[in-house]
Amino acid sequence: MSTPEIAIRLFAAVLLAPIAGMLLVGLDRRISARLQGRVGPPVTQPFYDLVKLLAKQGDTTSRFQTACLALYLASNVVSLAMVFLGQDLLVMLFVVAFGAVAYIVGGFSAKSPYSQLGTQREMLQLLTYEPLLIFLAVGIYLRTGSFLAADVLRLERPLLPELPVFALTLVVVYCIKLRKSPFDIAASAHHGHQEVVRGPLSEVAGPSLALVELAHWYELPLLLSIAALLWATPLWAGVLLGLACLLASIVVDNVAARLTWSWMLRFGWAVAVPASIANLLYLYATRGGGS
């Protein structure tokens, strides 16, 4: 990759992607509203939320938590940039985990009951989705012979037909990451009607909360691009696949109640993980392709 190309990709990852992410977050709320028979907020709503939060006077949480949230934001930016630069998927997922850890540590650092309870649940969410994502990366590797995202983009045929389970587990990951039912156990997406209030974000306000909102703008393109890896040629089909996963998670959100963390753990480790493993075993069994 030449230097100008790297610059262009970095620009796209750091500046363009979040704008798309913002619109997607807005679209998410809008679609949810339509599914509920409402009009819903304008698509640019997240932008106004962000500006308003930044203009709030002061911050209520500890400096440490703010720093953690900044690291969470940074990890989302870096991981998105890594995908755009065609970097190693495993390392990218580690960076994502870095962000998750920062977020969780931040939540734990606020000694406030709901921050603590919510963060404990957040931790269990990490335990549920992290293996699914790594299995996805391994699945991709088994067909491409490489963990590099750049190599996936060079493929001539889509991966999805051989990795069908991962599209489904990805919907699960979307639901967890985007705080949607039935997995919105640590904090709900838009409406705060949760028994643990806003979980890890209970004490976060003003500009610090803006960091989190901003981080979500990077999170959605990131999740989308992970899905896109499953159908990397042509790339627009992958983006469509990502959008389809997003839509699926929105629909699931609206047809399911929030379930409990114990249900989530059971589902994750008794259904989603074994399903992923089954798909992987299939890939091992029919070794070929990229290897």
Binding site: R29, R38, Y48, G58, G206
Partner: protein
């Protein structure tokens, strides 16, 4: 109207607190969230956490035990913020004038920016009250007060 003012107008996060109300106004506030009235059209979200909220919707005449709660919630909200007293009780105590445990209105405890009439206040009136309050919110200073800084300096 500058960007910050516009953002404030378009992103009111609401904290609803029932300060001893009969529930009448509270269910009407909830109705505002539901499809028929849908105040999320205006970017409003019922956040349920004072630290996130810009607008405090208070119902009820404020009783003596939740007086401290109301004050605490108000204090936990970050500036700039507005308080909307929803319903007759919140405005003035209403029908509970003879009740020994009532303070007789939200403005006896915390400053109120907008009074919404009605017993119970109708969703339309609540929405109007919210919008009225946002106009006030938008004009509030963006920087914490240091000496005398004119509120309208930024427009």
């Amino acid at each position: 109207m500058n960007l910050i003012q516009k953002a404030r107008m378009k992103s009111p996060w609401i904290l609803h607190f029932n300060a001893g109300s009969c529930n009448g106004c509270d269910i009407e506030i909830l109705s505002c969230l539901t499809p028929v009235y849908d105040i999320e059209r205006f970017g409003a979200v019922n956040v349920g956490n004072p630290k996130h909220a810009d607008v405090l919707l208070v119902t009820g005449p404020v009783n003596r035990r939740n007086e401290r709660v109301l004050r605490n919630l108000y204090d936990q909200m970050l500036d700039p913020k507005i308080v909307v007293a929803v319903g007759t009780c919140a405005s003035s105590g209403g029908v509970f004038q003879n009740c020994y445990n009532c303070m007789g209105g939200v403005d006896k405890v915390i400053p109120v920016d907008v009074y919404v009439p009605g017993c119970a206040a109708k969703p339309e009136t609540i929405i109007e009250g919210l919008i009225l309050g946002l106009e006030k919110l938008a004009k509030m200073p963006s920087k914490p007060k240091k000496g005398a800084q004119p509120a309208e300096a930024r427009t």
